[in-house]
Symmetry: C2
Subunit: 166 residues, 2 copies
Amino acid sequence: MSKFELVAVPLSRSAFEPFGDVIETAGDPPSLINQGWAERYHDLAQIDVTAAGGRPLVDLVRTRPRTLPMSIKMVERHALGSQAFVPLARARFIVVVAPAGATPKPSDLRAFTTNGQQGVNYRPGVWHHPLLALDQVSDFLVLHRGGPTEDCEELVFTADEITLRL
Amino acid sequence: MSKFELVAVPLSRSAFEPFGDVIETAGDPPSLINQGWAERYHDLAQIDVTAAGGRPLVDLVRTRPRTLPMSIKMVERHALGSQAFVPLARARFIVVVAPAGATPKPSDLRAFTTNGQQGVNYRPGVWHHPLLALDQVSDFLVLHRGGPTEDCEELVFTADEITLRL
């Protein structure tokens, strides 16, 4: 059995580019709207959910926090749709991903820590671990694909021991 | 000039049914997902954004708080798409709406106060005031329609004085 250490690094748009979008107010300056009462940060995620009769699906997900280090035993992917997670408690969480495409090896995994103000949007097919909250029970708005076709493929790592650390 | 008093009442799904969806964890019990680590509150908003070549558009909007009582001078509508607002600071805000359809009179307006855990999704064509944060500068995730056609109609109330109160 091989052992892998997966260390979470700070999430940024440039580092996350192979996997999707970071939903945050950093970056381009906002435009003023609502007679000057509000600032708009525009078009932050490529929502891609209409394949195979799909539609935008909005869920709220409440997740218990994990304690790190922890073992990563699986990832999953949704080939037909993007999937966005925006934290409502403005709490940090961990993102574990591997590029869309061939079955990832443990060494293909990347881990990121959000800063508490960031959400993410996975492109269709990007491998990812289910939500990993830290510190507290955390609510997320989830924007993904609803449709007639089931679209979740799981990959279980059996031969390797993968440890996720901060 | 006529004077109208518009008093905000607590937001609930039943009261908001003529206007759209309340995005909240109340109501149907959640399902367990992620090997029991999370609860999912499912399919909370009817996202309707594909008319006339539209697509789902994700913005973040940061808005300054208002002080009530305040004067309501206008509402707007988007005939081609729904528009959802989910507060990221988990702070209460005020929703001012009138039913889709004919030009509303001041007496057609309704006002609701959210409980800090609720978002809203306006159906296409529902008249609404721009975001009305209270208490603090507040960030919102906005999920609406992007498309080649401009889709915002404003209605300015000129002959009436409308006062919004808690």
